[in-house]
C-alpha cells in the first residue's frame, strides 16, 4: 500500500471528534465543579455545551463521506463487532453525539428553546401539540450535572477511541502502542480547553473572569505536560523497540514528517503554548500576585494548541500509514 488510503477527511474527523470530546469534558468538569451548589464556571460550561455536539457531528459526516460506499454506512449499525475499534467507535460516536445534544438542550434557557422553535416554519410549528411546546419551559438545569456525569466516560472514550482506532492496527508499527490512544485523548482535551479559552476571550457579552482563565490555564498546562510525558516515552520506547518500530519512528526522526512533528507539533503545538501559559501563570506560581491575562498571548497559545492538535493527527495518520514491516 504505502500510498495513504486515509487522508485529510480522516485527519479532520479525528481532530473534530477529539475536539468535541475535549469541549464536553471541560464543560462537564466546569459543571461538575461546584461553588455553593452552582456550577463553578457556568460560562465555560455553557459554551462547552453549546459547542460540543457540532465538531463531532461534522466529523462523523466526514467519516461517512470518506467511505467508498457512503450510502452503506447504516451497515455499521446492524452489526456490532467487538474486535473492530471502528465498530465500537461508531456506536460510541452515536451515543456520545446524542448525549452532547441532550446536554446542549439542558444548557439552553427556556426562552432560547422557544426561540429555536420559532425558527421552524409556521406550518410545522402549528402541528406541534401545545403540551409539547409547554414542555420547553421546564427547568432542565438539574439534568446538566447528571448528563455531565454520564458523559465523562463517553467523552474520555471518544477521545481515546480516535487513538485506539489507529493504535489497534498492529500492521502499522508507528501506531501500535497504547501511548497513541493516550496522546490522542489528552490532545483532545487540550484542544477542547484551548477552544474554550478562545471562545471565552471573544465573548464580549460576558467578559472572561480571572477565575475562569485560571481554571482553563491550569487545565491546559496540565494536559500539555501530560502530552509531553506521553510523547517523550513514545519516542524513547520506540527507539528501544523492535526494528519495525524503530524504522517507523524514522518517519519523524529524520524522515518526511520530521519537520512537521518537531517544529509544528512539539514546538509550536506544545512547547510554545506551554511557555506562554506558564509565563502568564508565573505570578501565581511564584505567589507574587494574580494571573496575568493578555488576550493576545492567550489567543496565540490557544490557537497554537489547536494547531498542534491538528498537526498531531495529521502526522500520525500519514506517517502511520507509511510505516510497515518492510
Amino acid at each position: 500500500m504505502r500510498e495513504p488510503v486515509w487522508e485529510y477527511l480522516i485527519v479532520n474527523y479525528l481532530f473534530l471528534g477529539g475536539l468535541s470530546a475535549g469541549l464536553f469534558f471541560v464543560s462537564a468538569l466546569a459543571t461538575w465543579l461546584q461553588e455553593e451548589g452552582r456550577p463553578a464556571y457556568p460560562h465555560i460550561a455553557r459554551w462547552g455545551a453549546l459547542l460540543a455536539p457540532w465538531p463531532v457531528s461534522l466529523g462523523s459526516f466526514l467519516l461517512i463521506f470518506d467511505l467508498g460506499k457512503p450510502f452503506r454506512f447504516w451497515k455499521l449499525f446492524i452489526t456490532f463487532r467487538w474486535q473492530s475499534p471502528m465498530s465500537i467507535g461508531s456506536w460510541l460516536l452515536v451515543i456520545f453525539t446524542l448525549l452532547t445534544m441532550a446536554y446542549l438542550w439542558a444548557w439552553l434557557d427556556p426562552e432560547e428553546r422557544t426561540r429555536l422553535l420559532n425558527y421552524l416554519p409556521a406550518k410545522v410549528r402549528q402541528r406541534i401539540p401545545a403540551k409539547a411546546v409547554k414542555w420547553l419551559e421546564h427547568d432542565l438545569s438539574f439534568w446538566r450535572r447528571e448528563l455531565a456525569m454520564a458523559g465523562f466516560p463517553l467523552a474520555v472514550s471518544v477521545g481515546i477511541y480516535t487513538g485506539v482506532l489507529l493504535g489497534a492496527v498492529q500492521a502499522r508499527p508507528f501506531w501500535n502502542t497504547n501511548l497513541v490512544a493516550q496522546m490522542f485523548l489528552f490532545s483532545a482535551l487540550s484542544t477542547g480547553t484551548a477552544t474554550l479559552i478562545l471562545v471565552r476571550l471573544f465573548d464580549k457579552k460576558r467578559p472572561v473572569a480571572l477565575a475562569e482563565m485560571r481554571f482553563l490555564y491550569t487545565l491546559d498546562i496540565c494536559l500539555i505536560l501530560i502530552e509531553f510525558f506521553i510523547v517523550l516515552p513514545y519516542l524513547i520506547h520506540g527507539k528501544l523497540s523492535v526494528l519495525a518500530v524503530q524504522d517507523a519512528l524514522a518517519q519523524v526522526l529524520g524522515g518526511p514528517f520530521t519537520f512537521t512533528f518537531w517544529l509544528l507539533f512539539l514546538g509550536c503545538g506544545l512547547l510554545v503554548p506551554l511557555l506562554i501559559e506558564l509565563n502568564e501563570f508565573k505570578p501565581v506560581l511564584l505567589g507574587r500576585g494574580q494571573l496575568h491575562i493578555s488576550a493576545r498571548w492567550a489567543t496565540t497559545a490557544a490557537g497554537l494548541v489547536i494547531l498542534g492538535g491538528y498537526v498531531l493527527r495529521y502526522v500520525f495518520v500519514f506517517a502511520g500509514q507509511a510505516s510497515g514491516f518492510r
Binding site: 500500500m1 451497515k75 471502528m86 492496527v169 500492521a171 514491516f325
Partner: protein
Amino acid sequence: MAKKPTKRYAMVLDSRKCIDCKACIVACKAENDVPLGVFRNRINVEKAGDYPKLRMSFDPEQCHHCENPSCVRVCPTGASYQREDGIVLVKYDDCIGCKYCIIACPYDARYHNPETHTVGKCTFCSHRVDRGELPACVETCPSKVRVFGDLNDPKSELHQLLASRRHQVMNPQTGNGPQLYYLL
C-alpha cells in the same frame, strides 16, 4: 465418528525461480477483473550492490490468507471474513469502503477498487479453486514459482514441499500467521 478433516489452502513460493515476468499479475487482472492501477498480487524487487557486483531478487507476494487475519478482525461490518478452508474474502455487498482493513493488513495486500469503491484482494481465485482448478497466478506462472494446495492433505505437493524443504513466512512477527510459504 471421525470428523472430515477440513482443507487449509496455502501457497508455497520458490522465489529463486521468479523471473519478474508479471504473468501472475496480468493473469490475475484478467481472471478477476481487477481495474487498472490496483493489484491483487505483485513482485517485490530487491536490489543490492554496485557495478559490476550487483544482486537482484524477486519475491512474488499477495494476500497471505493468514491464520489470524487482522483485516477480518478490524472490519466493522463483517464484510471481511475467513472461510473454513482459510481463504480470506470480502463480501462486496457488505463492504462500506472504510479502508480500515487496507490499513490493518501488514502485507499491504488489499486495495480500494476505484470502480466499485469497495475493498478488493486476492481470493486465491476461490471460484476457480471451488471448481477444482488452480488459482490463475499459479496456473499461468512460466517458471512455476508457485505451488498451491491443501496444507492438511499429506499427499499434496505443497505439503510435501514444506515437509522436505526449508522455508519461511514473511514477517511472522505480525502475529497474523501468514500462509504464503517461501522456500529458502
